[in-house]
């Protein structure tokens, strides 16, 4: 089984889907001749041609709008938003049109579309290239939100997203594009949307994370394991619709829950998980449900020391696990 990076797995998924279904096409800024700013689509323009790997103007509302229109005609668009920070011009298209089209047409006009967007900080990108936007979109019935944390999942989840009849926002942890490596089978496989995964078994504390923070959380769990703390790690993978059963089963098992995300704390996605656990697993809790998240400041700072202050890392996560285990 070949080992590949996160971004290679994403490229492989798109390559396989383009080859499998002639209705699949890619549209986005610099996705064609340049192969994407992160090289996610590298080689696909040459392989599938300008009609299926389309360079768009710098207009995110139009990228998503084109995708919606094409999807309504039976196409399977993969729209790329260069950075999640720039998805906001397309907010209206995504929330008001893509997410609601199927519902308001009584199920007649589904929008089978994927919007890929790299998100997250820690790459020295400053405020326009570091945002986490999952909380803004994980509030919208009709729109699925998926965040992979490793190459294997990325390929399987992206292929499922392409085939899903609903619009799917596929957020990719850009810091992990080349940092996170893993074995990816060359064979055809998919991973169903809406299923979380217990990525590490443990008994003392349940830690919920996704994307880059899941990668860090596994390292933190390894670190505290040597101190005798057995953290169970749950990779949420799909944020909407979320897998409540897996989340609750783990919380009931350990009695202690920590949710980790780099997005700001207040109104962040962790609040939903915390509320779910407090609601349905209250009598099994042995400690308050804790969140470890980015601070409530407007953006990830550009300055490196300040970026480090903003960002979570395995040490900060390990400290939070220790504290909760000790409670």
């Amino acid at each position: 089984m070949p080992e590949m990076t996160l971004i290679e797995a994403i490229r492989l998924a798109m390559d396989e889907e383009l080859a499998r279904d002639p209705n699949v096409f890619i549209v986005g800024e610099d996705v064609g001749q340049r192969g994407g700013v992160f090289r996610a689509t590298m080689g696909l323009f040459d392989k599938y041609g300008a009609a299926r790997v389309i360079d768009s103007p710098l207009a995110e509302a139009s990228i998503v709008g084109v995708g919606i229109g094409a999807a309504l005609y039976g196409m399977k668009p993969i729209c790329e938003i260069q950075f999640a920070d720039f998805i906001h011009p397309a907010f209206n298209q995504i929330i008001n049109e893509a997410a609601k089209m199927c519902y308001r047409s009584g199920g007649e006009w589904p929008v089978p579309m994927v919007i890929r967007a790299p998100y997250g900080g820690g790459i020295g990108g400053g405020l326009y290239h570091s945002q986490s936007v999952e909380a803004l979109f994980s509030h919208t019935p009709g729109l699925k939100v998926v965040i992979p944390s490793n190459p294997y999942d990325a390929k399987g989840l992206l292929k499922s997203a392409v085939r899903d009849p609903n619009p799917v926002l596929f957020l990719e942890p850009k810091k992990g594009y080349r940092l996170i490596k893993g074995e990816v089978p060359a064979d055809e496989y998919t991973i169903p949307l809406g299923e979380a995964k217990v990525s590490r078994e443990g008994t003392d504390v349940s830690v919920y994370a996704y994307g880059m923070m899941h990668y860090y959380t596994l390292q933190a769990a390894e670190k505290v394991a040597s101190e005798g703390i057995h953290a169970e790690v749950v990779d949420l993978r799909t944020l909407y619709p979320v897998d409540r059963e897996t989340i609750l089963a783990s919380a009931r098992k350990t009695g202690k829950a920590l949710i980790v995300h780099e997005d700001n704390l207040t109104g962040g996605y962790g609040a939903e998980i915390a509320a779910t656990i407090a609601d349905a697993a209250f009598t099994d809790l042995d400690a308050p449900v804790k969140r470890l998240a980015g601070p409530d400041v407007p953006a990830v700072p550009f300055s490196h020391p300040m970026q480090d202050w903003f960002m979570l890392n395995p040490e900060k996560i390990a400290a939070a696990i220790r504290e909760l285990a000790r409670y």
């Binding site: 009695g255 209250f282 009598t283 099994d284 809790l285 042995d286 400690a287 409670y327």
Partner: protein, 437 residues
């Protein structure tokens, strides 16, 4: 919510600690786990960290003061935060603030916590506690501030299950040596008599030859005390047992007529109540039966305190004492009997309640025994054994009648009473019972 700082238990057997020095003054900010005070126990000084961050709201125990463990010594919380009820309330001078406090708080002095603070009980700990009937005071907390965690209570349950066959981890109060006449270490109470006794008290050591199919059951504390006490009593007091029988027709009639009325008053009118009352009446007329032997002379007790032997099954027996039984009405005796019996079987007797008996009654009749030769509960003079109440054929005025009869066995110390005086006493008991009205 302000956090209370309690005097920690710094060792297994440590019961109190002295506040040597406050490292923070009132109003000073303190970080979590920052040293807050120094505590001295047995000449060892320990630094106690704060379990919370905030400001030191109030110092309750001043330097140089020794308090029991579990006593609230200070409060830590946010600036201006009120101290919860039970703690000392800082006088803020604000009337609205005062109105929010229950009136009682200001006048209630801070009392040392009667037992270890359990701290916060999490939902899952509460659930497990309820499901498995756990007494959380038995569980050692290892969480923050000594909080009992889920792991702690599960570990406790594990140990509890594995201990089913072994003696209880905590010794019930009546098994505590030096408390209670019956179970007091005999060498302490009767050292002199035992030493002077012509009979060597050293028990013949039976060879501990346990065959392959035999089991060696280790003695429990209560069993050892019973053994010592019985052996000692037999050695120091020449026992004689005399037996009489009593016709309980009038007692049965009285009980039948009054049982319901007693029940309305919350008392269960048992036969034991009548035997206690009859013994009290006989002791009043024969005070020498209410006495203890000493080399200097006979100690005749002014109080009549009736011990009531209560079986705890295979575990052993315990003798709670009805204090001042001569001052109680039948209802009062009934209540005392009920309550002591219930507490004895629930293992809830206080040390005081098994002390100071002057005469003992043992109701072996509950196990259908007709008469027995009970062993005197030292240092008393006599013990009355009550047999089973049976309808028997008796001859009254040359005619045959069926009457509820009971054999009463009195074992007495022949140093104090002779056969005739003991029989007078027992005859009085019989007379009271037979003429009950």
């Amino acid at each position: 919510m302000a956090t209370q700082i309690i005097m920690p238990q710094l060792g297994e057997s440590i019961v109190e600690g002295t506040v040597v020095k406050w490292l923070k003054s009132k109003g000073e900010t303190i970080a979590n786990l920052e040293p807050l005070l120094e505590v001295e126990t047995d000449k060892v000084v320990s630094e106690i960290p704060s379990p919370a961050e905030g400001v030191l709201l109030e110092i309750i125990v001043p330097e140089g003061t020794t308090v029991k463990i579990g006593t609230v010594v200070a409060w830590v919380g946010a600036v201006g935060e009120p101290i919860p009820a039970g703690g000392e309330v800082p006088d803020t001078g604000s009337t609205t603030h005062k109105e929010q406090q229950p009136a009682a708080v200001a006048t209630t002095p801070t009392l040392p916590a009667p037992q270890r603070e359990l701290g916060f009980i999490s939902p899952v700990v509460a659930k497990i506690t309820q499901e498995h009937a756990v007494d959380l005071r038995q569980v050692k907390g290892t969480g923050t501030g000594g909080r009992i965690t889920k792991k702690d209570v599960l570990a406790y349950l594990d140990s509890r299950t594995s201990q089913v066959e072994s003696p209880k981890a905590t010794i019930p109060i009546w098994e505590t040596p030096a408390d209670g006449d019956l179970f007091r270490p005999t060498e302490l109470v009767f050292a002199k008599q035992v030493a002077l006794s012509p009979v060597n008290v050293t028990p013949a050591n039976v060879t501990r030859d346990t065959g392959t199919h035999d089991t060696l059951l280790p003695h429990t504390t209560i069993r050892k005390h019973i053994a010592d006490h019985m052996l000692m009593s037999k050695n120091v007091a020449p026992h004689v047992t005399t037996v009489m029988e009593a016709d309980l027709s009038k007692v049965v009639a009285h009980r039948t007529a009054n049982k319901a009325a007693f029940e309305r008053d919350g008392a269960n009118l048992t036969y034991t109540v009548y035997f206690v009352a009859a013994a009290v009446a006989a002791l009043k007329t024969h005070p020498r039966a209410n006495s203890s032997w000493s080399d200097e002379g006979l100690i005749v007790h002014s109080a009549i305190n009736i011990g009531m032997a209560t079986s705890l099954g295979e575990e052993g027996l315990i003798v709670p004492v009805i204090k001042g039984a001569d001052g109680l009405s039948l209802l009062g005796i009934a209540r005392a009997v009920n309550e002591l019996a219930e507490r004895a079987r629930g293992h809830k007797l206080q040390p005081e309640e098994v002390k100071g008996g002057t005469f003992t009654i043992t109701n072996h009749g509950v196990a259908n025994s007709l008469f027995a030769t009970p062993i005197i509960n030292q240092p008393q003079c006599a013990i009355l054994g009550v047999g089973a109440i049976q309808k028997r054929v008796v001859v009254i005025d040359d005619s045959i009648a069926i009457r509820p009869m009971v054999y009463l066995s009195l074992s007495f110390d022949h140093r104090i009473l002779d056969g005739a005086s003991a029989d007078w006493f027992l005859a009085k008991v019989v007379e009271v019972l037979q003429n009950w009205s």
